[in-house]
Amino acid sequence: MYTYMTTYLVKDDLMAPEVIADPHAYYRALRETDPVHWNERWKGWVLTGYKEVVDVLRDAENFSSDRMGYLASELTQEEQESIAPIFHVLKYWMVFRDPPEHTVLRMLLNKLFTPVAIERYRPMVRKIVQKTLDKVVASGKMELIRDFAYEVPMTVILELIGAPDLDRDKIKEWSEAIGVFFFIKADEPRRREIACEGINAMVEYIKPLIEHRRENPGIDLISLLISAEEAGQINYNDVIATCVLLVFGGHETTMNLIANGTLALMEHPEQWEKLRNDPKLLKKGVEELLRYDGSVKSTVRWAKADVMVGGKQIKKGERLLVSLSGANRDPLQFDSPDDLDVTRDPNLHVAFAHGIHVCLGASLARMEVEEAFAGLISRISCPVLEDEAYLNYYPSVVHRALKNLPIRFDQIK
């Protein structure tokens, strides 16, 4: 074990196959030896302790999320122009903005994503879950991501933006292209170009929808953004960028959460049985699945000033990889952190981050995942991995994303 840990630290390779396969072991090794670690290869700090992670996430005064600003400062004018669509759209994303611009957008959109506001979609989600399961349960097997985990969040986000008929396959394709820039294939040399193509295509697809909603307002998210634009609270760039963000962010992370959660329960069938015997535990269960193996492993911040974090001097301009997964397994915050316990309470995990950038869609994701598991535990037995299947994760520092999850189960009649 010791040799293994040493190898990790010496390599400092966040994309090493063993780190992608089991990030928790890597983060544990880091947390135990150096919770605020300078990663020479990535040229930034890696934070894996709960306290340090929470301190940074809750401190927007000293830590910036202005990813595009910092990226621009690293590129020449020419390089920036070569990836103009990334700048034009992503610099207006709430997730990459600091106060006060962030605050305006967040307060506006937050109203539609509160726990109370989200409850109204629960019956719709329940119906989608049942319909999706109807198609697959009788066969006794499915590829969980394609056949189930993807369907639910994609259908919901299209309903929310008031465009149920949009072409899902195209949206998936473009989202994956945009994702290349952030999450996946950090070593892909054309990653910025691929992302530009994805963004351009999605923007061109969304623009007519915005104009249609301008003429025919409804109660959907796009109509809300347009009325805020017309009231002068935000501008047209904010409207377009936010639409792209919602479509992009609205399905993939939730899909991965359902997949990671299913796998976690397959590895702990006694916890699946606990949920099945007492579905009231689902709320706590979902929090535990988020903590145990959430779909976003880390997020990035930039120091706006010289700051001390966990006894280390961080210099202005340096970047920090804030490991949500690392914090979520910190024994100083969670008893037996490597155990899955669907009754865990309290459970103040950081799977949705903390601070001003806490996930806007958190309540929606919670409700969707709760309904997804309510459906699964009532319709199928605790699944097992299909014979000869093996688990393969996308190589990403940020996303915890299985490529597929082929399972077998018995239908509950």
Binding site: V54, N110, V116, E119, F352, H354, G355
Partner: protein
């Protein structure tokens, strides 16, 4: 309406600061970046409930101390 009591559950608060932005006279942050109630100062109860609703974590509880009625969160949220 009797005495209104507002509390923030620090086992839930993630420091989103939304309560503070909506009602800066009522909410503030403690040294850990979590919300605290600094005084209700006659804020009307509807505004308090509407603000509590904005919390992504359902960390804010609004109660009528006289009757013991919980005005937020509603029971159906199961919090």
């Amino acid at each position: 309406m009797g005495n209104i009591k507002v509390t923030v559950n620090h086992n839930r608060c993630v420091g989103s600061q939304l309560c503070m932005h909506f009602l800066p006279d009522v909410f503030d942050l403690d040294g850990n970046g979590q919300a605290i109630v600094c005084g209700l100062d006659g804020t009307n109860v509807t505004t308090l409930v509407q603000t509590a609703e904005q919390c992504p974590q359902c960390a804010i509880k609004v109660e009528d101390e006289t009757t013991g009625e919980v005005l937020f969160p509603p029971a159906e949220l199961g919090m």
